[in-house]
Subunit: 355 residues, 2 copies
C-alpha cells in the first residue's frame, strides 16, 4: 500500500522548500540547526524557512529520518509484560512515572512497543515486525530479561539502557543497590544483638537476587566471625513455604531475611499460626517493596523506582548525545535504596533482658 492513495496531510521538506523558495537541502539544514563552516545559512533565509515550517506545521517523518541516520528525540520503552494491567501496574507505574517526568524535562517522546506479541505472559522483543529501530534508543524494563535478547540488542548497535543490574557484558543499566541496602539491614540487626540469621530467597539466578544474597553474606563475614550460624534457604517457588519455615525454626534464627514481600507475608502468617510473635520472638526483614499496602508495616528495602526510571532515561540521553563520551563505568549506575523502618525488626528475645 503506497501512501499515494491516502490523503496527503503530512508536509515534506520539499514542499516547505518550494514555499520558501529554497532547496530541500536548505530546509534540512535549517530544521537541524546545522551551522557548519560548510553549510552556512544567513539569518534572513533561516528565519524565512522557519516561518514556513511553523506555518505549515512541518514535522519530520521519523522513518525517513531514521533511515537517513538522524535522531527523532524518540525513546522506545520495552516492557517484558504489558505495563498497565493491574497485575504489573504497581511495578511499572513507579518506573514510568520517573521516565515520563524525565522525558518531559529532556524533550523526549516515548514509544511504547505495544505491538510486540505476548506469549506466555511475556513480550517478544525481537519479533519479526519489531519497530525498535524507529526509536533513537530504548529502555528495557522487566523483572527478568532474556540474556540472548540483551546480547543481540548490544550487538545491534541500537543504544539502550536496562533498568536493573545485568551482568551481561556491554549492557548499560541503572540499578538499585540491593546489596548495600541488605548489608545495611544486616548491620542494623547485628547491632540490635542478632547473631543467628536466616535468609529465604527466590529460586532465581537473577542479578538482584544474587545481590541481596551477597549483601547478606558479605556483611555477616565483615562483622567478624561472631555469627552463630546462618541458614540460607532457597524457596521452592510453588510451595507455601512450609518447609522453608520449618528450616528457619530449626536453625534457631532470631531474624529472618526474606527476599520477596509476598514470601514475607506468608512467613508472617506461618509465624502467627505457630504462635511465634513478630518481632518479639522473631524479627523479619523484607528485601523488597510490596506492590500494595500490607496489614503489618514491614521492615524493608524500598527501591527508588521513580528515580530509577528517571536516571535510566537520563543515562540513555547521555549515550545518545554525540557530544558526550561515557566511560564504561559511567554506563552502569547504582542508586541507593531507602529503608522503611517498619515494625518487624527488633532486638532478639534472649538479648532483650541483657540490654
Amino acid at each position: 500500500m503506497r501512501r499515494q492513495d491516502a490523503p496527503r496531510v503530512r508536509i515534506t521538506q520539499r514542499q516547505v522548500a518550494e514555499l520558501a523558495g529554497v532547496s530541500q537541502s536548505t530546509v534540512s539544514l535549517v530544521v537541524n540547526g546545522k551551522a557548519d563552516a560548510r553549510s552556512r545559512i544567513p539569518r534572513a533565509t533561516r528565519e524565512r524557512v522557519l516561518r514556513v515550517l511553523r506555518e505549515a506545521e512541518y514535522v519530520a517523518d521519523p522513518a525517513a529520518r531514521r533511515l537517513a541516520g538522524g535522531m527523532n528525540r524518540l525513546v522506545g520503552v520495552f516492557t517484558y509484560e504489558p505495563a498497565f494491567p493491574a497485575a504489573s501496574r504497581d511495578f511499572y507505574a513507579a518506573l514510568l512515572t520517573g521516565i515520563e517526568h524525565q522525558a518531559e524535562q529532556l524533550g523526549y517522546d516515548l514509544l511504547m512497543f505495544t505491538s510486540a506479541p505476548v506469549t506466555h505472559g511475556r513480550r517478544q522483543l525481537f519479533h519479526p515486525a519489531n519497530r525498535l529501530r524507529l526509536a533513537d534508543g530504548c529502555l528495557l524494563l522487566g523483572l527478568e530479561m532474556d540474556d540472548a535478547d540483551l546480547e543481540r540488542l548490544a550487538t545491534s548497535g541500537l543504544p539502550f539502557v536496562a533498568v536493573g543490574r545485568r551482568e551481561t557484558p556491554g549492557v548499560p543499566y541503572v540499578a538499585a543497590d540491593y546489596a548495600g541496602a541488605t548489608a545495611e539491614l544486616v548491620g542494623q540487626a547485628w547491632d540490635l544483638g542478632h547473631r543467628r540469621f536466616a535468609m529465604i530467597h527466590r529460586d532465581s539466578s537473577g542479578e538482584s537476587v544474587q545481590d541481596r544474597l551477597r549483601g547478606l553474606i558479605d556483611e555477616l563475614s565483615r562483622r567478624d566471625r561472631g555469627a552463630l550460624g546462618t541458614a540460607v534457604i532457597e524457596a521452592a517457588s510453588t510451595t507455601g513455604l512450609e518447609k522453608e519455615w520449618r528450616r528457619v525454626r530449626r536453625a534457631g534464627a532470631s531474624v529472618v531475611f526474606v527476599e520477596s514481600p509476598e514470601h514475607a507475608l506468608v512467613v508472617l502468617d506461618l509465624a502467627r499460626r505457630d504462635g511465634v510473635c513478630v518481632p518479639d520472638e522473631l524479627s523479619l526483614v523484607t528485601l523488597g517493596d510490596p506492590a500494595r499496602a500490607t496489614p503489618v508495616e514491614l521492615t524493608r528495602i524500598v527501591p527508588p523506582r521513580t528515580r530509577l526510571g528517571a536516571e535510566a532515561l537520563s543515562l540513555l540521553g547521555q549515550i545518545l548525545d554525540p557530544q558526550v563520551h561515557l566511560s564504561t563505568d559511567e554506563l552502569r549506575v547504582t542508586l541507593p535504596c531507602a529503608i522503611a523502618p517498619g515494625a518487624t525488626l527488633a532486638g532478639p528475645a534472649d538479648e532483650r533482658p541483657a540490654t
Copy 2:
C-alpha cells in the same frame, strides 16, 4: 551522525540477494510473500531465498519499510495530565490497559507525547514543538479537554479519537453512557419507592456532567409526574458541601444522587455526623467510580474504562484504514456502564412499613 560509524551487523535485502544469487526485488517479494500474476517466484527460488533469510537472521528495517510503504502503525496518546504519577494513575491506567491490549491486537505501537510541556498541571497539546504528526493518528485522554484544541485538531487533518463524549462537531469519540446508567439508577430508586430526589453535581459544563443530569431529569419525567420534588444542586467546587447537604435535607429528599465519588464520601461523612443513617434514612447513589476502595461500598456507576480505551483505539484503527469508510454515526461510540449495587441504596424510610 550518520549511522555508518556504528558497527554494521544488520543484514539487508541486498546482501541476502547476493548470497542467494537473485535480485533485491526478488528478496523483497519473497519476504512479503507476494505472488501476483505480475511477480511469480517459483517454489525452488523462494525456498532458496528463505533459507538465506533464515540463516542470515534477516530482519527488515522498520524505518525503511515504513518509508517505502506509508503508515507507521504508530498511534499517539495524548494525556492532558502526566499519566503515571499516583494522582492520575488510577484514572489513566484502566484506559491505558485497554489501549495497550488493543494495540497489541492491532499491531500498533503507542507514542506517548511526553515531551509536551506541563503548565498548571496540564499538558499543552499544541505547544510550538509538538510532534503530533509523528503518529498516524492519535488518542486524546483527559477528564476535560480544550474545545479550541479539539477544533484545531479536527481541522488539522490528523485522525484522532477522544475518550469521553465531546459535543464539538467533527470530533469522533468513544464515551460511557452516563445518561443511560443514571436513568437506570433513577429507575431502581423509583421502583424501590423513592419519590423525592436530590442531585448534587459538579460545577462544570462538561458533557459527562450534563449527561448525568439529563439522565436524571429525563427518567424522572418519564416516570410520570409522581415525583414529589426534585432538588438539583450545583456544588460549589471549593466548599465542604455543607450548604449543599443542608439543601438536600431541607428538600426532604429520600435519595440523593451525587455525581462525584469524592463528593459522595463527603456527603456520607456529613450524614454520619448528623446521625442520618445511610441507606436506612437516606439513600445515596454515586454517578461515578472512585479512584480507590472506599470504606463503604457505594451504589454507583462503573464506567467501562478498559473497554473505553480498547474501543477508542479500535475506532481510530478503522478511521486510519483506507479500506473502511465510516458514517458520521459510526464515529461516535457509546458504551454501557456497569452498575455496582453497593450498599447505599435501599427503599425510603417512610415506604418501608407499607411494603
